[in-house]
Subunit: 113 residues, 2 copies
């Protein structure tokens, strides 16, 4: 374990979905919009494949990286498509399960999800 202050990782910030969407926009938007939705979707699919591999590999650090990458590419497509993920999430899940309306889902087991 590295205990050198300058190398120790800061505690992770509990970043909001909106702040992460903005961070990715600030970081990559010009490239993303030039690539467009279809090209960006292909990057998302590549990362989804890497996530699938990582889920089977047992390498926890790599698994975390792949989750972060899939999330980043999903957010990137939302940026290109001009969708506010905070609004989207609030509209779909902000008042409970879309199926039963409860904050602890009691939809019948056979029903989605």
């Amino acid at each position: 374990m590295n205990t050198t202050a300058s190398h120790s990782a800061p505690p992770p910030v509990d970043i909001s979905i909106g702040a992460f969407q903005q961070l990715i926009k600030d970081m990559y938007y010009e490239k993303d919009v030039a690539r467009g939705v279809s090209g960006t979707f292909m990057w998302l699919m590549e990362e989804v494949g890497e996530l699938s591999s990582a889920l089977r590999s047992g390498d926890r650090e790599n698994l975390g990286e792949e989750f972060a990458d899939v999330l980043a590419w999903l957010v990137t497509i939302a940026n290109v498509a001009e969708i506010d993920l905070t609004q989207a999430v609030a509209a779909k899940y902000g008042t409970g399960c879309p199926g039963c309306g409860k904050f602890r889902c009691d939809c019948p087991d056979k029903e989605k999800p």
Copy 2:
């Protein structure tokens, strides 16, 4: 436009990634863990397909729903795989672009991403 107070949508909360991961865990965890990673991955793939359709359809409301669903299923897999997405995102993107280290990426255009 519906202006009835009881029906007007509240402003969306700028929910954190961690709070959304916990919301989905509280809502669905028992079903999710019973289904496992592989079965949950199939749900994610179904929603990715629906997102692809929505990106081509032009229906903005449906598009928002599909982004929310893909995000929810990604978070669900993270719950089952016991990955903290806040930590994962901080580790990968918290100090800038993983390629060049800048908060406004200046990686060469031919390089990922």
